[in-house]
Amino acid sequence: MKNFTYHQPTTIAATLPLLDAEWGKTELLAGGTDLLDRQKEYVSQPEKVVSLTGINGPFREISSMPGAAGGPPEVTIGAGVKLISLAESSLLGAYPALASAAAQIAGPQIRNMGTLGGSLCQRNRCWFFRDEHVKCLLKGGRKCYAQDGENEFHAIFTQGHACVIVNPSTLAPPLIALSAIAEIMGPKGKREVAVEKMYQAPVKDTQREHTLAPNEVLVAVRIAPKVPAGGALHNASYEVKQRQTCEWPLIQASVAFHTERGGKVAKGVRVVLGHVAPTPLLSESAARALEGKEVTEAVASAAGEAACEGAKPLSGNAYKVQLLKVAVKRAALLAAGAKPYWEG
C-alpha cells in the first residue's frame, strides 16, 4: 500500500481538524475491515489515515433510556461500538431487526473488528470498483462497467443511476426501518439527520455512498421509534444468502411497525430494502401494502410484490427481484411474530 501518515486522536474534537474538506487524501479508520483492504489493493490511496480507535466513552458504548409512554427504550449507539456488541447487547432486545442483522454480518473475526459507524459508512463491494485496474465512474472513469458487464450482485433498482452498485450496509436497512437518527459532528458542530437521509447514489470519485462531508464524523445513532401508549413495536430483518458463512446478503429486507393496545393491525409501517440499489431503499409501496392490516401470509406476500414495483434488473440479476419479494414477505411475517413457514 501507499505510505501514509497515521493519527490516533483521543477525542472527536481532536479528530475534526485532522480531516480535509475534500475526499481523497484523508480516510477515517474504524475497525479497518474495509479500509485496509482498499489500501492494500490500491483502490484507496490516502496520504493520511485518521484512526478513531483512540476514542473511548460514549463513542464506544450503547446507552438506553426508558422510552416515552412505556414504549420501547430510546437507545443511543456510539459509532465505535463493535458489531459483536450489537449482536449480543441486552439493551437491543426490542430491536431484533438490528441485532439479528448485526449477528449475521460476515464471520466472528469481522464482527469483532467492525463497528457500527464502519458498517454505515463503508465503501461498496462492486467488483469493478474493487479492481485497481478498472477505472470506473467512482474512480474518476467515464463508465460503469457493471451496466453491461458481470452484474449478478448489482442493483435491481437502476433507474437514473449511472453507477449500479448496491449499498453494502446491512445495518442501514434496520436502522432506517426503526426511524433511527444519525448524530454527526463537523466543523460547525453537531447535526442530526435521519439515517435514510444519510445515503446517496454516487456517480463520481468526489462522492461517497453516504452524504457526510469529508470533514464530518458519524458519532452515534439514536433509535427512538414512536409507539403509542400501550402499543407494541414489531420489527425484523430477513436476508437471503447463498452461503451461511461469511457472506454478503443477496437481498435484505427490514420491516418495522407498531400495533395499538390489543390491536392486531400494523401501523406506522416502514419497509426498507437492502442490497437492491445504490442506497438503502425505503419502500413506500410495500409499507402501504401492510399499513392498517393484520400481517397474514397473504398480506405479507402482497407487500413483497409491492416492494418490487419499479424494479428494473440488469442483464444478470433478474433473480434478485424474486428474492426481494420473498425477503419482504418473510421479514414482515417475522416482525408479526409468525412461525417461519420456510424452516422445516
Binding site: W127, F128, V134, D148, E150, T245, N317, L323, W342
Partner: protein, 807 residues
C-alpha cells in the same frame, strides 16, 4: 517374494491422530510462508492487467530508484551464451553448442547498458570481468518489448526489495506501454466466433476441433432400441484450486553456489531438479524443503514462474528472496480446473439398460492446455456396460490462466455430464435411479486370473458399495420420484458413482524411504516425499512403528527434503501407495540389520528373533529384551534399512497385496431446497470409498470427508467469473469466489470399504469426484426440475424453476 504387510496388525488400520496436528493448530509448524532468513528480501511479480496485449515499451529506470529496491528480472526464457568478445560496451556472444548438433549456432551482439545483466556461475559480473569462451546468461530488459501476453495475470517481470511494500512500490514504478489486443475470456464466445485467434499455438482460431470422435457400436440402433430418450445440456465452470497456502517459496544461495528453497510444493525432488537444470547447479547442490504444506491439489509441481524468479532475484541480489503469491495471483495465475459443457443424449429401457449414449462437449483450459474431460471414460463409470456410444469434444481456448491438474483431473466433469443424464433418463423411464445404476455397472472380467484385482470383481464392489450407501443414507425411505410434493422447502436425495486409479507412482526410479535405528532405541524415517496435508508424516510413522513394535509417536519422521532420496510428485493419489510400502520395506530392512548386528552379542540367531510390542523376542531360547535394552547393544553402531517401491514393483508377481489400484466409490447427497429463494442447504452426505489396506483410519476418513467438502463447494459455490468486456476475472478473492464455511457443511458419513488384501491404494482424489454430481441429482430429486449448470446458486435454481427445466 516380499515379506509384505504383517498379518496381525497392531496399528495399521486404526485411528491415529495426526502427529503434527498440534504443531499445525498452534502455529509452531513452519510453512514456506513462515520462513524468514537473515537479510531476506521480498519479491513481487508484475503481471499483465489485460487479457491480451503486447508490450510496446518498458522503462525500469524509475523502479530501480525506489526505496529498498534490490533486483529486477524479466520473465523470459533463459539462454546460455558463450562470450566471443567483450569490447568497450559491446558484448559479442554465440550460442552454447547444442548437444543435438542440428541446431544452428546463433550469434548475438549486445550493447551493455543499464538494462543488461550478465551472469556467470549465478553471479552478476561486469563486462570487464569477461573473457572469451566464458559461459554466461545475458538478460536484456528490452527483450520483453514485443512480447505477447495472453491473460490478465500473465507474468512480465519480478522485483526484489527489502520489504513487501517496497517490492510493490518498485513494481508500480515500472513503466510499460501496452498495445491492447482483442480478447475472448468466455468459451461460448469462442464457439460463436471460432476462427478468431487470441491465444497462442498452431490453431487457426481459438477452437480446437481436431480431437477425434470416439464411437462404439451403432448409436442409431441404440437409440432406436431405447424405450425412452432424454437430451440435456449440462455444465461445470472453471474453478480455482484455492490452496489455503498460496504458491511460493523462499530461495537462498549459499557461498558454495548451492541453492536451497523452502517451497510450497507437492514435488520436492522435481522442484529441486527443475531449479538445478535452470541454473546449471549440480542436482545434489539444490535442496527443496517442504516440511509443511498448505494444499496443492495438483497445482504445485515444479519450481513454477515464481520459483525461477525468486532464485534469479536471489542470485542477483546476493540475499534470500521470498515470493508468495497473493490471493488474486493464486486464483488468476496458479492453475484451475477446466470447464466442461456437454449436450448429452441418452436412451434406455425400462429395466434400466442404457442402450445408447452420445455426448458432444467442450470446455476451456485457459489460453493453453488440452482436453478438459476424459472422453474415453464417457459415459463415466458405466462405459464398459454401454454398447453404443458417440463422444466428441472440442477445446475452446480463452484468454484466461492455464488449467492445471486438479484433484482427479477430468473426472468430476465426466461425472456431472454422465450422472445428470443418467438421473434424467431414470426420471423419463419412471424408475428409481438406483436401478439404472445397478443395471449398468461395469461387469467383472472373468478372464482376469488375479481374483483380488479390481477388474475381476468391480461389479461386486460397486454393488456392495451401493448396498452400503443405500443403508447409510436411508435411500429406500428417503428417495421419492423427482419433484417433492408440497412445501416451500423441498427435500431431495441424489447419488453418483466414481472411479480412480490410486496405484503406486510409475516412472523408472522407485520411491525411497530410509529407516535408522539408534542405540537409544530411536527410530527415524527419512523420505523426501511431502505431506500436503494428507498425513503422510503420520502414515510413515505408523508403518515404521508397526514393524518395530513402537508407537507412532516414538518414530521421528523427517520428510519433505529433496536430498532424502528419490520420491515422486504427489499426483494421481500415488503418494501413500508409493511411500507406505517404501517405509514398510525400510523398516523391515532396518529390523533385519538390527538383528544381524545385535544377535551375536546376545548369543542369538537373527532368524529366531521377532519383534512384539515394545520388545524383541528370541523364540527359540524363550528370551526377550525390552526394545531399548536390545537397541543399546548396538554400541557405537546403528541399524539402517532402505525401502523402495514403484508401480513396476507392485506389478511383479504376488506384489498386488502390497499396493494396487483402481477403486470405486458411491456418494449420496441430501439437500433442502428453498423453492422461493433458490438457496440449497446440504444436510447429509454419505461417502462409501473402496480404499484397499487402510493405514490410518482417522486421516483416511478425514481425506474422504475433505473430498466431499471440496465437492460441495464445486456443486454449490465455486466459479471463476470473467467479465467479457474487461477480460478480467471479477472474483479473484474469497469474497465473491465462494467457498462454504462450517455452517454450509452437512453431516458427512464416511464408510471405508476395507480390502486389506489389495494392499495400499491412494484415495486422495476419488472422494471428491462424485459429490457435485450427487448434489445436482439431489436438487433434481427435490424439484423435479434439472438445474443443469454448476454451481447450483439461487440464481440458477430460480431460473430453472421459472422455465420449468426447459433449456
Amino acid at each position: 517374494m516380499a515379506e509384505g504387510w504383517p498379518k496381525k496388525r497392531r496399528l495399521l488400520g486404526t485411528k491415529v491422530k495426526r502427529l503434527d496436528g498440534p504443531a499445525k493448530a498452534t502455529g509452531r509448524a513452519k510453512y514456506s510462508y513462515d520462513i524468514n532468513r537473515s537479510g531476506m528480501l521480498h519479491g513481487a511479480i508484475l503481471r499483465s492487467p489485460y487479457a491480451h496485449a503486447k508490450i510496446k515499451s518498458i522503462d525500469t529506470s524509475a523502479a530501480k530508484k525506489t526505496p529498498g529496491f534490490k533486483a529486477l528480472v524479466m520473465i523470459l526464457p533463459p539462454r546460455d551464451w558463450l562470450v566471443v568478445k567483450a569490447d568497450g560496451d559491446e558484448l559479442e556472444l554465440k550460442s552454447v553448442p547444442s548437444k543435438k548438433k542440428k541446431e544452428k549456432e546463433e550469434q548475438r551482439s549486445v550493447k551493455v547498458t543499464g538494462g543488461v545483466t550478465i551472469l556467470r556461475k549465478n553471479k552478476v559480473v561486469k563486462l570487464a570481468d569477461l573473457k572469451a569462451d566464458d559461459q554466461v546468461q545475458v538478460e536484456v530488459e528490452q527483450d520483453v518489448v514485443g512480447r505477447e501476453l495472453f491473460y490478465a495475470g500473465d507474468e512480465i517481470a519480478a522485483v526484489a526489495a527489502d520489504t513487501e511494500e517496497h517490492a510493490k512500490d518498485a513494481l508500480r514504478a515500472i513503466r510499460i506501454e501496452f498495445e491492447q489486443l482483442d480478447h475472448i475470456v468466455i468459451e461460448d464466445e469462442v464457439l460463436k466466433n471460432p476462427k478468431k485467434k487470441t491465444t497462442p499455438g498452431p490453431l487457426a482460431g481459438n477452437l480446437d476441433e481436431t480431437i477425434k470422435d470416439m464411437t462404439r457400436g451403432d448409436i442409431e440402433a441404440g437409440f432406436k432400441d431405447a424405450e425412452a430418450t432424454v437430451e440435456g445440456t449440462y455444465g461445470v465452470p472453471a474453478i480455482s484450486h484455492q490452496c489455503l497456502e498460496t504458491h511460493g517459496l523462499v530461495a537462498e544461495w549459499d557461498a558454495d553456489g548451492g541453492l536451497t528453497v523452502w517451497c510450497s510444493t507437492q514435488a520436492t525432488v522435481s522442484t529441486a531438479a527443475g531449479l538445478a537444470g535452470r541454473f546449471g547447479v549440480p542436482p545434489k547442490q539444490v535442496k527443496c524443503i517442504t516440511h509443511f504444506m498448505g494444499g496443492g491439489f495438483g497445482s504445485k509441481f515444479g519450481p513454477d514462474v515464481q520459483g525461477f524468479a525468486a532464485a534469479d532475484l536471489a542470485r542477483r541480489a546476493g540475499a534470500a528472496v521470498k515470493i508468495m503469491l497473493d490471493r488474486e495471483e493464486e486464483i488468476t495465475s496458479a492453475g484451475n480446473r477446466p470447464s466442461a459443457t456437454g449436450t448429452v443424449k441418452i436412451g434406455g429401457k425400462k429395466d434400466g439398460t442404457i442402450t445408447a449414449f452420445a455426448v458432444d462437449c467442450y470446455g476451456t483450459p485457459g489460453y493453453i492446455g488440452g482436453a478438459t474431460i476424459n472422453l474415453g471414460l464417457m459415459p463415466y463409470v458405466y462405459n464398459d456396460a454401454v454398447a453404443n456410444m458417440k463422444r466428441s469434444h472440442k477445446v475452446a481456448y480463452t484468454n484466461t490462466g492455464s488449467a492445471r491438474a486438479m484433484r482427479a483431473p477430468g473426472h468430476p466433469q465426466n461425472c456431472v455430464l454422465t450422472e445428470f443424464a443418467v438421473d434424467d433418463l431414470a426420471a423419463k423411464l419412471g424408475i428409481d435411479p438406483l436401478i439404472i445404476r445397478r443395471k449398468n455397472l461395469p461387469p467383472n472380467n472373468p478372464k482376469v486370473t488375479d481374483k483380488i484385482a479390481w477388474m475381476a470383481r468391480r461389479n461386486d464392489i460397486y454393488n456392495e458399495q451401493l448396498d452400503i450407501a443405500v443403508k447409510l443414507s436411508g435411500w429406500k425411505e428417503k428417495w421419492h420420484p423427482p419433484g417433492k410434493k408440497g412445501g416451500t422447502v423441498k427435500h431431495g436425495i441424489g447419488m453418483a458413482l466414481h472411479t480412480w486409479g490410486g496405484f503406486a507412482a510409475g516412472g523408472t526410479t522407485p520411491n525411497e524411504c530410509h529407516v535408522f535405528i539408534s542405540k537409544d532405541g530411536t527410530a527415524t524415517a527419512e523420505t523426501s516425499t511431502q505431506d500436503l496435508g494428507t498425513a503422510q508424516r503420520t502414515v510413515t510413522a505408523i508403518v515404521v512403528a508397526e514393524i518395530l513394535g513402537l508407537m507412532p509417536t516414538d518414530v521421528i519422521v523427517k520428510l519433505g527434503e529433496s536430498l532424502y532420496g528419490f520420491s515422486s510428485g504427489s499426483g494421481g493419489s500415488t503418494t501413500c501407495p508409493s511411500q507406505a510400502p517404501a517405509a514398510l520395506f525400510a523398516a523391515q530392512a532396518a529390523r533385519e540389520d538390527l538383528f544381524k548386528k545385535v544377535a551375536p552379542k546376545l548369543q542369538a540367531d537373527p532368524k529366531d528373533l521377532v519383534i512384539e510390542a515394545g520388545k524383541v523376542v528370541d523364540t527359540k531360547n524363550k528370551k526377550e529384551w525390552l526394545w531399548k535394552e536390545f537397541c543399546a547393544r548396538l554400541g557405537m553402531d546403528e541399524a539402517k534399512g532402505k525401502g523402495e517401491w514403484s508401480l513396476a514393483l507392485s506389478n511383479e508377481a504376488d506384489n498386488a497385496n502390497i499396493s494396487s489400484g483402481q477403486v470405486g466409490g458411491v456418494q449420496t447427497a441430501e439437500v433442502l431446497v428453498d423453492t422461493e429463494t433458490g438457496v440449497v442447504r446440504a444436510t447429509h452426505f454419505v461417502a462409501v470409498q473402496d480404499c484397499g489396506l487402510v493405514v490410518d483410519r482417522l486421516t483416511c476418513e478425514s481425506q474422504v470427508a475433505g473430498g466431499v467438502i471440496m465437492g460441495i463447494n464445486y456443486g454449490l459455490f465455486e466459479q471463476n467469473i470473467f467479465d467479457k468486456w474487461t477480460g478480467r476475472q471479477v472474483n479473484p478473492d474469497m469474497e465473491f469466489y465462494k467457498l462454504g464455511g462450517i455452517r454450509d457443511m452437512p453431516k458427512i458419513t464416511v464408510h471405508l470399504q476395507d480390502m486389506p488384501e489389495r494392499g495400499v491404494i491412494g484415495v486422495g482424489e476419488p472422494p471428491t469426484i462424485s459429490t457435485a454430481a450427487a448434489i445436482g441429482n439431489a436438487v433434481f430429486n427435490a424439484l423435479g426440475v434439472r438445474v443443469p449448470f454448476l454451481p447450483i446458486s439461487p440464481r440458477r435454481v430460480l431460473d430453472a424453476l421459472a422455465n420449468g427445466g426447459k433449456q
